[in-house]
Subunit: 430 residues, 2 copies
């Protein structure tokens, strides 16, 4: 750990509680201002942030180089160092991401469904910010700018707590943020980047319902599970992505191959990548050999049930464990099923309610699949890889929720808001 | 405690864990069936429940009489005994409430906003049940039927845990439920009424995220706070209702009087009753005397700030404590404010974000009030007493949320659902 970081962490627990309470109180106070800020002011802050990031490129790279040096000295994992690294291209992408958020429509203040009631009142709903959003993340410094932009645009105050390995990079971005907020006439407390990387700060932050309205952990399963376990406030969380494609007996073979190949091979490490392929027994012998050839060419290891292995001699046997596994790797498990019911049963038993697709031309089976598969995204004749905020038209996503409460699937600006009731009367009484 | 109740509570903690795990697992299994059940089947079960309640009137009254006898022997509070009591009228109202839920539109399966994306996919959302809803409540046996009906109609499985004082009444209603579910061909586990009134069953129930998707505590502040504190799953909760009416300088005096009188005096013990009246200094001398006369006539005790007491000599002085207090009684605190800003400041400082109203004819001030007051219901020229599921057209409410996450204000069938993503493609790939 760096000397700068360790200095801040060598404080007493009491001090950490006081530190977080102070940050929380400041966020709560700032939330009121940003909730009422008009769209123009918020956009001005966002464009100023993008500009500051570009202007401060050198300072960002220097801070990041120090983080990287220390990370290497601390023998951090290569993949973690890669995520940590900033370069000119990534800095430009970060600024562009902020500009894109500025260009999204403002969700706050939208009034819908104003209906007249028999009593004479008119009732509808207005979209409003959640209040204070706490984000806990690892390594990638661009999350600092991304998350700040999404919270700000949706009228929320934010407390951002990045990993200790990226502290200097994050604080350099924090300076850009401060400049942008101040330039736009907003409180610098609207987005606070924590300079205390003590783990106890996180435990405190997720247990302050008086100051924090929702926590979004962005990182590995370990982080998400730990945060959810400790949280005393609502959490928008993403756990497993065990996604399935089911090729129905009445699938168009060309579409089936296109979807099943893309869902597995377009990228291996993403949560919306297919991990298990389900194939109706009536079509298995026709479609599996074609697919196996393409998968093998791409270097995907195949693991199959008994029926699969009768068709694909090269497939290894799949164990019960395989159906439960999110490989995040070029490995695919394949199961031949007796039909739609067994496919849905398999998905509901082994899936993670993330994203599941059917390939079929049969109207009735498609309707059943859409209704009965309880996943945050259900798809027809489309690759599971589409489960993404940009692809869905949200513009950007703060995360993907595998929960059912509040928001499911990709969470954009709307997921950072809720609806309050608006009642218009004319001296109306009950 | 009754011998029947104490028998079930004299079990070891291990047994209670096993008991709740079993109930949870059964609810999770039943959730899948009820989520896919068609509207006709759900309505058939609801009408059968209403009929069973009417048919079993005698058995319900007998079970309730036993609860009441024991409650009196245990020296329960009179108001609690009143809430506990069933009679012919209340039984008919309970059956009618269930029929009303049957007659509401089914929220499940509704598909909205199917938009075409540049990639060629079409993306929208489908309303789906949350899964398993746990309800924890006190005394009123009608909650058993109400909550069961709302959960069933919204496609959720439910675990209902009433108070020990109402155990026999609740189990008698549970028998009606079981008959209705079975008659409609649904699993009896769709709605489970717990027969174990050990407090540890509650602690276990609110900490089983694998089996329970949301907890709704319905009862006093003590119950709600205790449940929220212990919960490991999302909670839809209702805490304070410190509601305000602000009479602006540009208020229509007739409307101001109508709204301010109704908001306070229509009922005293409800959460949407006004507790503090804010009056612009420019209009205070004109409106307060008229109001004070009506309040005094109605037996409402007035407590005012200094400026109020210069106009209303009879008003007692209001302390800082008064602005924080939900009286739930014929007491009203009154504060004269310098204008809209101070009114909003007061509401944001002392209010509970429940329901707040402005009385004004000024367009700009009304718009600011609606936008800047962060309450679950914001009203213009209407009594705060309108904050209610029936008045808003929800048909019925499972509760009122003072949280911002997921649902704010009156929560009806829609609040028991969430939206999943639906993606339609044509062999679409990324």
């Amino acid at each position: 750990m760096s000397s700068a970081a360790s200095k801040t962490t060598r404080v007493k627990a009491d001090n950490i509680v006081a530190y977080m309470q102070d940050r929380g109180a400041r966020a709560r106070a700032a939330a009121r201002g940003i909730a009422r800020a008009d769209t123009g002011t918020k956009n001005a802050a966002l464009f100023a942030l993008a500009q500051a990031i570009v202007d401060e490129r050198k300072a960002l790279l220097e801070a990041n180089a120090q983080d990287l040096r220390e990370g290497r000295a601390n023998k951090l994992d290569e993949s973690l160092l890669d995520r940590l690294e900033l370069n000119d291209k990534r800095i430009e992408a970060m600024a562009e991401g902020v500009r894109e958020v500025a260009n999204l429509p403002d969700p706050v203040g939208e009034i819908t469904d104003m209906k007249l009631r028999p009593s004479g009142i008119q009732v509808g709903r207005m979209r409003v910010p959640l209040g204070v959003v706490g984000i806990i993340y690892e390594s990638r410094p661009n999350v600092t700018a991304d998350a700040a932009a999404l919270c700000l645009k949706s009228g929320n105050a934010a407390i951002l707590r990045g990993g200790s390995e990226a502290l200097r990079s994050n604080l350099a971005i924090a300076r850009c943020l401060e400049r942008a907020l101040t330039d736009a006439g907003l409180s610098r407390d609207v987005v606070q980047v924590l300079d205390n990387t003590d783990r106890r700060a996180v435990s405190e932050m997720v247990a302050m319902p008086q100051y924090v309205d929702v926590i979004i952990p962005r990182g590995g399963k370990g982080l998400v599970a730990a945060v959810s376990q400790a949280a005393r406030v609502p959490v928008i969380k993403h756990l497993d992505g065990i996604c399935h494609v089911y090729i129905d007996a009445e699938a168009d073979l060309e579409k089936a191959v296109a979807v099943a190949v893309n869902a597995k091979t377009q990228r291996y490490g993403t949560c919306n990548t297919m991990e298990t392929l389900l194939v109706d027994q009536a079509i298995a012998a026709r479609v599996l050999p074609t697919l196996a050839e393409i998968y093998t060419e791409a270097g995907v290891e195949l693991r199959g049930c008994e029926a699969t292995r009768k068709i694909l001699l090269e497939a290894k046997p799949a164990s019960e464990e395989d159906w439960h596994t999110e490989y995040l790797a070029p490995i695919l498990s394949i199961r031949v099923v007796s039909g739609l019911d067994q496919a849905i049963d398999h998905i509901e038993t082994y899936g993670s309610h993330h994203t599941d697709a059917i390939v079929s031309e049969n109207y009735t089976k498609i309707r059943r699949f859409l209704r009965e598969v309880d996943s945050s995204s259900v798809m027809v004749n489309a690759s599971t890889r589409f489960a993404d905020g940009y692809e869905y038209g949200l513009g950007a996503e703060i995360g993907i929720s595998t929960d059912k409460f509040h928001a499911r699937g990709p969470v954009g600006l709307e997921g950072l808001t809720s609806l309050k009731w608006v009642v218009l009367g004319d001296g109306s009484v009950r």
